[in-house]
């Protein structure tokens, strides 16, 4: 009798843990869907207020408008690595980490660190691409928790990237280039870098660091192709699948 009780107890424990997980993830995904919707709204509101090409090219005031919610939402995404590590979601934690780190780096390591980079069309392109993608993604995850998977949403998730992914990458690269132009002169460079001499004989040139980061974007074509493959698999669009 006692053995049965403890077994029943552990099954119900497992069930309540899984319900707890589901509700936690529901709250997480919902908050982020709302967060990114707000970011998109503020972005569009700012951009339609621009009166000249120069305004758009420099994106005056955009960063100030979205800085806080953007930092919160993008950094909170690290929780998804934790979710993957503890099996709350079925993703590879390493892959999730790599996807997040590039965005987080752009927010904190480029735009936040080198304020002049905030005045770039790149910010607008990147944030627009990110927010549309994330709204769809988090909404998709939230609904998925209850086995709801609207065809339209799925189609959007696996099709919008065709435009948004190159758009986002363009935005990120433009922002990085703006940052690099800003810190190229030696006087400015030294403010953002670790210079010699120092006690630990360590130097870190931020300009060259950004050069290396740019090189990482050469992975874009491979990732883009991979996403098309995923799309074909999920939406069953490959010709061989069509049976007569």
């Amino acid at each position: 009798m006692r053995i049965m009780d403890s077994k029943q107890k552990s099954t119900t424990q497992k069930q309540s843990l899984s319900t707890l997980t589901t509700y936690y993830l529901l709250i997480y995904n919902s908050i982020l869907t709302v967060g990114w919707t707000f970011i998109l709204y503020e972005t569009i509101k700012q951009v339609i207020s621009y009166k000249s090409v120069d305004d758009l090219w420099k994106c005056h005031g955009l960063w100030n408008a979205i800085e806080i919610p953007l930092k919160i939402c993008q950094t909170a995404a690290f929780l998804e690595v934790v979710h993957a590590m503890f099996g709350l979601v079925r993703s590879n934690p390493m892959i999730v980490f790599i996807q997040i780190i590039s965005r987080v780096f752009l927010v904190w390591g480029v735009a936040n660190y080198i304020p002049h980079a905030q005045l770039s069309l790149g910010i607008f392109l990147a944030v627009t691409a990110w927010s549309i993608t994330e709204i769809i993604r988090y909404a998709y995850y939230a609904l998925n928790l209850f086995q709801v998977s609207p065809q339209l949403l799925t189609w959007c998730r696996y099709s919008f990237f065709i435009v948004l992914y190159p758009l986002g990458v363009t935005g990120e690269i433009l922002t990085i280039i703006k940052a690099m132009q800003t810190i190229y002169p030696e006087i400015v460079r030294n403010r953002y870098s670790i210079v010699l001499p120092n006690k630990f004989n360590f130097g870190f040139d931020y300009f060259y660091f950004l050069c290396v980061v740019l090189l990482a974007y050469t992975y874009f074509p491979t990732m883009y192709k991979h996403m098309f493959k995923q799309r074909a698999k999920t939406l069953n669009t490959s010709p061989s699948k069509k049976i007569q």
């Binding site: 010699l196 001499p197 120092n198 006690k199 630990f200 004989n201 360590f202 130097g203």
Partner: protein, 314 residues
């Protein structure tokens, strides 16, 4: 002594383990043929598949078989099939190690002479601190020792490794060499905070650990009889530095960490410490594998107080 099945030669189909297809077939092969001999025969037919590239299994998915096994032991004389896997281009172990160690040796010395294309035109004439000279001496000693050990001391379980490993390992060694040597040899190098006391302490630690590492390598060499893959439990010998075997399974790695800690202390250079850390992580992984293998091979006899790499800890 098993009777030779002289009259039972058969035709062996060599199939590809991945995908379907026949690689080739061997006529008139005897059940007593070893895998090693099979590899030679296949290489005769497919010249680009030298024996070190070939790997065989009795089933399409399964563990690969050893060179010493006979076809009859694997039931292949009944099934008349064996499965082949191409291990890809191989490179000799010794070749790899010499390339991996010669690169760092020469690259460090290249930075040591402070060439103008790295440090600017006036750098070569600026004075160099004693610690930086010692850094170059220790680095050179370490890698020269490694090359000599590869040529004269070590015995390897496999004769080759995949070519890809060469690029991966060389990137690691050459990359870190650049990172360390750039800063130690820099004209703006700052000597250690605690001066010569720190420099000599670091140097002493380095030398002691290098000798320790060599002692372990010599012990391991004598442990394994020449030309065999036989495994035995290593125990300390007359050399007091080998007493570390009482506490860890891989004291050679422990001493290696010690050497680099000494080097980092002596030069007070952050990238040297990063290099030490990276090496420690990798060697801990290897030590744990080796430790597990020892315990599996010798479940009753293996000394229980031994850890893998850090005494009492890991």
């Amino acid at each position: 002594m098993s009777a030779k099945n002289q009259g039972n030669t058969f035709r062996l189909e060599v199939l590809k383990a991945r995908g379907n297809g026949v690689l080739t077939s061997i006529d008139n092969i005897s059940p007593d043929t070893t895998i090693a001999e099979l590899k030679k025969r296949v290489a005769q037919q497919k010249s680009q598949l030298y024996p070190d590239r070939q790997s065989y299994r009795a089933e399409p998915t399964g563990k690969s078989v050893k060179d010493t096994q006979k076809l009859s032991e694997l039931n292949v004389d009944k099934t008349k099939k064996i499965y082949f896997k191409d291990l890809g281009p191989q490179i000799g172990w010794s070749t790899v190690f010499v390339a991996e160690y010669a690169g760092p040796l020469f690259m460090y010395l290249l930075f040591y002479i402070r060439p103008s294309f790295i440090y600017g035109s006036s750098a070569g004439s600026k004075p160099m601190h004693f610690a930086a000279h010692l850094g170059a001496a220790c680095w050179t000693f370490h890698y020269a020792k490694r090359i000599l050990e590869t040529l004269f001391v070590h015995r390897f379980s496999h004769s080759t490794m995949p070519l890809f490993n060469l690029f991966k390992n060389c990137s690691y060694y050459w990359g870190f060499t650049a990172l360390v040597s750039y800063f130690v040899n820099h004209p703006k190098y700052t000597p250690p905070s605690f001066g010569y006391a720190q420099i000599y302490l670091g140097l002493a630690i380095f030398i002691l650990n290098e000798i320790g590492n060599l002692s372990i390598h010599l012990l391991l060499r004598d442990l394994r009889p020449a030309g065999t893959n036989q495994r035995r439990i290593p125990y300390p010998n007359k050399n007091p530095l080998t007493n570390l075997f009482h506490l860890v399974s891989c004291p050679n790695y422990t001493y290696e960490i010690g050497s680099w800690l000494g080097f980092s202390l002596m030069t007070q250079t952050l990238t040297a410490l990063l290099f030490t850390f990276a090496g420690t992580v990798q060697m801990t992984i290897w030590a744990k594998q080796k430790h597990r293998a020892y315990k599996k091979d010798f479940p009753d006899k293996y000394p229980k107080q031994r850890k893998a790499i850090i005494p009492f800890l890991i």
